[in-house]
């Protein structure tokens, strides 16, 4: 019988038909569902690309260099996440805390860039009500930002929990792995958004 830790209590956990933990299967299924969620948002953006009746238009307002920096920060955070999982998997709780804090910090930095960007756009006269670009841009990147926010809270909670005995240990590194799967997924979604909305978007619309 495997032992599983749930909320600080050790409970017996029967082996599963696949050998995978329930929570891991759940996370993969959830991410599959999330693909359709972001797929629909991205599809909406693409359908409406170039169909705004009034400005500001993407190429007037999107700032590729600045967003490249925040993209770089977010993608690097995935590396930190990998290092955090590697640390906890070998029982290095201190290393785990350092790398996970770094991950959360980089996620927060990305969010800071996004807040700055949104604020800047509003001052330039682009709000969700202005035109179709504003409507679809803020909805798509806003939902992505919300996902990053949930991720940052999750990561910080894990760091906090690691100070309580038995909550985050080598044996239940799965908790960290699940957060990692989510984090990497959110990063991958950003790669798609950055490419379609920013890199390709400014050339066409």
């Amino acid at each position: 019988m495997q032992q599983t830790w749930v909320g600080g209590h050790q409970v017996p956990h029967p082996e599963t038909a696949t050998g995978l933990d329930h929570r891991k299967v759940l996370m993969w299924v959830f991410l599959g569902s999330e693909c359709m969620f972001f797929g629909s948002l991205i599809a909406t953006y693409l359908v409406y690309a170039g169909r705004s009746v009034v400005g500001p238009f993407p190429k007037e307002i999107l700032d590729i260099p600045v967003t490249s920096v925040s993209t770089f920060v977010l993608l690097t955070s995935s590396l930190m996440m990998v290092l955090a999982l590697a640390a906890i998997s070998r029982g290095d709780v201190r290393g785990f805390r350092v790398w996970l804090l770094a991950t959360a910090l980089m996620g927060a930095t990305f969010l800071g860039f996004q807040v700055f960007e949104f604020n800047h756009f509003v001052h330039q006269g682009l709000t969700p009500r202005t035109n179709l670009f504003g409507t679809t841009f803020f909805t798509l990147t806003g939902f992505h930002g919300a996902h990053v926010t949930v991720g940052v809270v999750w990561l910080l909670s894990l760091v906090g929990l690691s100070f309580r005995k038995g909550h985050v240990t080598q044996e239940n590194s799965l908790k960290v792995e699940l957060a990692g799967l989510y984090w990497h997924f959110v990063d991958i979604v950003w790669i798609v958004i950055f490419t379609l909305v920013y890199l390709i978007g400014v050339t066409t619309g």
């Binding site: 909320g7 359908v47 035109n131 679809t136």
Partner: protein
């Protein structure tokens, strides 16, 4: 926040009404789903009756056009999201863990949450009648009928928010059943030994997790248009109402299979048992179900043939739609072949199953007629479509659910439904169904549009409308017979015993009703139709599907194998946190309409509940549940 959550003591009671609120037992949750869904079914039926009274004769003024719009919107929304889907969910919950030899679902508290969120969504939708008017834009809520410019009241807000909450409930439930079926099968229960109902639950759950996010996004966009003033469906800003149709039907057509695949699973369980034969072509039936699940995502634009997508799009979607009839037809032939040469035990469940094949096939055939784009141009938005959808959803889904009710009621309650009343119910239903819905084909071909609140006597639609209304009242009587049967049999029905029908699957190996922990020892499965094989293998020749791997010494009664890993029964403990989270979400939904402060409070309750949920162990160490 943490201290508040931890200060509340965990519920420990397993009896009394409070225990139903805090239960995480999949069987009790299944019963809650079923009972709630029957109430919504009656509500939806009442709405249908009012519409039929209004349409019985030309130029009637029983209800106003405004109320009529609300009635057809709420009738469709209720029947689909609050009656058939949760009736399916009731059977998923009660049966799937028993069928695959599991003690519970993978995430019992998430399962309880799904039910409470479903109830909350149902309440949001139905309270709209009292809070300024029900939604009135049809169950597919086409843009821009739903925009604030044309629909300034709160009706559409309740529709959007209710469906969002129901979507959360459905997604949570689908995640849970996918993990349960993939991960919690008993030793030896390989995928290709699973009962077809469990298979169809798996396929349906996958359809849900891929289809629901799309409607979630569509509803979010509509919600932003209404609450924040965005331009998604505002033509003056360049927004395209067609986007709504695409997003809605990319969800909406798979939704049809969410409604009908579980009933197909029920039929695949009922027919073999009452024909005393294994299911004919089990792998083909399973793969047809999977094929329908995949193909269901590639046919959505057949709802939009008259939109003007062009001949290429129309042709492609016509062909994919015709193609989906193939796996459906395969299933029908397999069901007929299952009965062929069987020793038929003509109980009510079998009658309903045969009725299902007959009427569902008629709905399927009118469906193929719609798939021809040129022919659909004539049928679009007429009563012909209304006839079609009722043949597949009433004649299909509901008849199968009735078959399932007669089949599994003894397992759920320990008592049989009354057979005489059951037959009366069946014959009334099958006659009334055809009296109600068959004339709608004529009306549709005669050009009667759907969703009109009245018509002129010169149109010549009087006769068939009157016939349909008479049929609708017969249907109401038949449903009342069923409800009467449920209520009386619950108290006075004949005792069922473990296995009243000579069943094939694992749920019949345990007492009726099953104990909280389901199985004393987790069974070891050695073949498809495991229970039946072990009961009858001496009496019959080897059959397809049985692997024949059995201990040579075993004879007679079923002796489940013993798996030493599962020797301790450790039950998940009751919890009120699922109710707390669902309540928070519902409050937040009301807050979005009335006051953002309420939304914030609701959100805080939901987050606090989730936090407590995360910290609370799934089962208390000292509490074994028994």
């Amino acid at each position: 926040m943490a201290t508040i959550v931890q200060a509340l003591r965990r519920p420990t009671s397993y009896t009394g009404w409070w225990s139903w609120v805090t239960t995480v037992d999949h069987k009790r949750i299944g019963i809650l789903y079923g009972a709630t869904a029957i109430i919504f079914l009656l509500l939806g039926g009442l709405e249908a009756l009012i519409m039929r009274i209004q349409l019985a004769r030309p130029d009637q003024t029983v209800v106003s056009p405004e109320v009529f719009n609300q009635l057809f919107t709420m009738h469709g929304t209720t029947m689909i999201f609050l009656a058939i889907m949760p009736l399916n969910a009731a059977l998923f919950n009660f049966l799937v863990p028993l069928m695959i030899g599991a003690g519970d679902v993978a995430f019992p508290r998430l399962n309880a949450f799904s039910y409470w969120a479903f109830l909350g969504g149902g309440i949001i939708l139905n309270l709209s009648w009292l809070l300024g008017g029900a939604p009135n834009a049809g169950w597919f809520g086409y843009a821009n009928l739903t925009g604030t410019a044309f629909n300034p009241g709160h009706g559409i807000d309740w529709w959007v928010l209710g469906l969002q909450v129901l979507g959360i409930a459905s997604l949570a439930s689908a995640f849970n059943f996918i993990v349960t079926i993939i991960n919690m099968r008993a030793p030896g229960m390989t995928l290709m030994r699973m009962p077809v109902f469990a298979w169809m639950t798996l396929v349906t759950s996958f359809i849900m997790i891929f289809a629901f996010p799309v409607i979630t996004v569509a509803l979010v966009e509509l919600m932003f248009d209404r609450f924040l003033g965005t331009n998604f469906f505002v033509p003056s800003a360049g927004g395209d109402p067609l986007l709504w149709q695409h997003l809605f039907w990319i969800f909406g057509h798979p939704e049809v299979y969410i409604l009908v695949l579980p009933p197909m699973g029920i039929i695949s369980e009922v027919l073999p048992t009452f024909s005393r034969k294994p299911l004919f072509g089990y792998p083909v039936v399973v793969f047809s179900g999977i094929a329908i699940g995949f193909m269901g995502f590639g046919v959505w634009s057949h709802h939009m043939f008259t939109v003007g997508l062009g001949p290429v799009a129309n042709s492609v979607f016509a062909i994919t739609t015709m193609a989906i009839a193939i796996p459906t037809g395969v299933k029908i032939f397999n069901w007929i072949a299952t009965m062929w040469g069987g020793s038929l035990n003509t109980k009510t469940a079998l009658l309903f199953a045969v009725g299902f094949i007959f009427t569902f096939m008629m709905g399927g055939i009118s469906g193929v007629m719609h798939s021809m784009a040129s022919s659909d141009y004539q049928q679009q938005d007429t009563y012909f479509v209304v006839a079609h959808i009722h043949y597949v959803l009433f004649g299909g889904s509901l008849l199968a659910l009735f078959a399932g009710a007669y089949y599994w009621f003894p397992k759920i309650t320990g008592r049989l439904l009354h057979e005489g009343l059951g037959r009366l119910h069946f014959w009334l239903t099958i006659v009334a169904l055809n009296v109600t819905f068959f004339p709608m084909h004529f009306l549709g071909l005669d050009g009667m549009p759907r969703r009109i609140y009245t018509y002129d006597p010169s149109m010549g639609w009087d006769l068939w409308n009157m016939v349909a209304t008479i049929g609708a009242f017969m249907l109401a009587v038949s449903v009342l017979v069923f409800v009467f049967n449920l209520v009386t049999s619950l108290r006075r029905g004949e005792r069922a015993g473990n296995d009243p029908w000579d069943g094939r699957t694992l749920e019949w190996t345990v007492p009726s009703p099953p104990p909280a922990h389901n199985f004393d020892t987790i069974p070891v499965v050695r073949s498809r139709d495991a229970f039946w094989e072990e009961k009858h293998r001496r009496a019959i020749a080897p059959v397809a599907g049985g692997s024949g791997r059995m201990d040579p010494g075993e004879e007679g009664g079923y002796r489940p194998g013993h798996d030493p890993r599962h020797s301790t029964i450790h039950m998940p403990s009751p919890s009120y946190l699922p109710v707390v989270v669902a309540l928070g979400i519902v409050l937040a939904a009301y807050g979005l309409v009335y006051h953002l402060a309420l939304a914030a409070v609701g959100g805080a309750i939901a987050v606090a509940g989730l936090y407590g949920w995360y910290m609370e162990p799934a089962s208390e160490p000292e509490d074994t549940g028994q």
